[in-house]
């Protein structure tokens, strides 16, 4: 095994803490198995929310391809067709990368706006893919988008909490 790492490179992170963001997104997606038989789609997509929280508050915590496996897990649990979250979540992270290049110094309100836009993008495209256009779900979808967007500060709070815990340990 040759030494590829240069003399000034950081040693690779081997702690368990590097998995915390991915595990928290998976756990949030798992909330879809909560035993409630909903007849209106009002429950926010928590996996997407946690992914956006990590991506916008700690940009280096997840690699850019991480939304593929995380989205695959979310697709298998939510009722959406396979590939839905994989595709839209990855497109979201590409878009946030582009915004990162344009607007480097941002405050929290701008992050919240970006998160709202991403949530709109994912949920509206998901609705167009899966339900016929004549279905009467658009009002409820707006409500779901509003609920999810309002929960974004909570997601960033949880991300911060998890990182702090990880630092103290």
């Amino acid at each position: 095994m040759s030494q590829i790492r240069g003399p000034f490179d950081e040693p690779p992170d081997t702690s368990f803490g590097r998995f915390v963001p991915a595990v928290s997104v998976l756990a949030a997606s798992t909330f879809a198995v909560w035993p409630v038989i909903a007849h209106v789609p009002l429950f926010p997509p928590l996996g997407l929310l946690m992914l956006l929280g990590w991506r916008l508050s700690r940009p280096l915590s997840l690699p850019v391809w991480a939304s593929l496996p995380l989205g695959l897990y979310d697709d298998l649990l939510s009722g959406q067709p396979l590939g839905n979250s994989m595709l839209f979540w990855t497109l979201c992270s590409f878009m946030i990368d582009l915004i990162d290049q344009r607007i480097v110094f941002r405050d929290f309100w701008q992050d919240w706006l970006i998160a709202g836009g991403s949530i709109c993008f994912c949920l509206i495209l998901g609705r167009l893919v899966v339900s016929p256009l004549a279905a009467h779900v658009d009002t409820l979808l707006m409500l779901q988008i509003a609920v999810t967007t309002l929960l974004f500060p909570l997601a960033t709070r949880i991300c911060t909490m998890l990182t702090r815990e990880e630092e103290t340990v």
Partner: protein
């Protein structure tokens, strides 16, 4: 404070290549995801096996959680009923005495019905139950309305079988795993159930809207007015749903269809019974051999040009 937003990894070649490779993987993966999405859109049950495998793991978790939730959820109800028990007792006694006459009449009608059916030698098709199980979870974030049933192909559940709750029709089985099955609820935007009005037997279709209600659409060309109070039961047409199961009652008159609420409310649903498909689809017929063509009759046909008017 400006957080370390840029992903630029400095001068390390290895880190730069790693970052680039990450983008290559993400772009290729999103292409794959687009293909998967297109495949699922064309053929919805394409990845049923994958979903069923995950559901095998999540179904016991959900059912365990629901047991705990019901245990805690029952506490306020039992406290409240302790205080209201006297009034309720009085009300129930009154209801019982009111309905006694109706009950006797229904009993005699049932007897007469059986006797007449025996007289006609009517061959009744009895809907056999397959299994009774709990609905444990549902697609809470999606705009589709699926529920997960805690029984699968090991218990004899197969796709296309109707699911019936204590209050009425719930939906039908869409995909099955060994121990879990996915149920298409009545309120799903792609669910359509043939129904008839109890009052006069007028046929209609109950199509899900996606917002917790169903549309009652008239089958006939003339738009029938479905007003509040109309009750619809399944008609048995189509062969999936057995006839006579309560489906929905109209709550509001809509512009082109009546808005109806289903009797089995999916949130309050607990146990559900899976029945065999009422009249399963027959095996595919053998392709009929083309009959030998009859020899064309030597028929003198009047030339059409002769009778046609020359000038228009």
């Amino acid at each position: 404070m400006a957080p370390p937003r840029n992903r630029r990894p400095g001068f390390s070649r290895r880190a730069q290549y790693g970052l680039f490779l990450g983008y290559v993987i993400a772009a290729a993966g999103s292409l794959v995801a687009a293909v998967l999405l297109a495949l699922s859109a064309i053929d919805p049950p394409a990845f049923a096996v994958l979903r069923a495998t995950v559901a095998e793991v999540t179904t016991p978790v959900s059912s365990g959680l629901s047991t705990v939730g019901q245990w805690f959820g029952a506490i306020p109800g039992s406290v409240g009923s302790y205080f209201g028990v006297h009034d309720e007792n009085k009300r129930l006694r009154k209801q019982l005495s009111d309905q006694h006459a109706l009950f006797m009449r229904a009993r005699s009608l049932g007897y007469e019905n059986r006797r007449l059916a025996a007289l006609l030698r009517l061959r009744e098709r009895v809907a056999e139950p397959v299994v009774t199980a709990r609905l444990v979870s549902s697609s809470v974030t999606s705009t589709r309305r699926f529920a997960v049933l805690n029984a699968g192909s090991w218990q004899g559940v197969a796709s296309g079988q109707p699911v019936i709750g204590p209050d009425g029709l719930v939906g039908r089985i869409l995909e099955t795993g060994p121990n879990s099955a996915r149920v298409l609820l009545l309120v799903d935007p792609e669910s359509v159930v043939p129904v008839r009005r109890t009052r006069d037997g007028m046929p209609a279709l109950a199509a899900g809207r996606g917002d917790g209600l169903v549309d009652i659409r008239s089958v006939a060309t003339a738009t029938a007015a479905f007003g509040p109070g109309d009750v619809f039961v399944s008609s048995g047409i189509g062969g999936i749903y057995p006839p006579g199961i309560p489906v929905a009652h109209v709550i509001r008159r809509g512009p082109e269809a009546g808005l109806a609420r289903t009797y089995a409310q999916p949130d309050t649903l607990d146990y559900a019974m899976v029945q065999r498909a009422f009249m399963p689809t027959p095996p595919p017929l053998t392709v009929p051999q083309p009959a030998p063509k009859p020899t064309p009759k030597p028929k003198t046909k009047a030339t059409p040009t002769a009778s046609k008017p020359v000038a228009r």
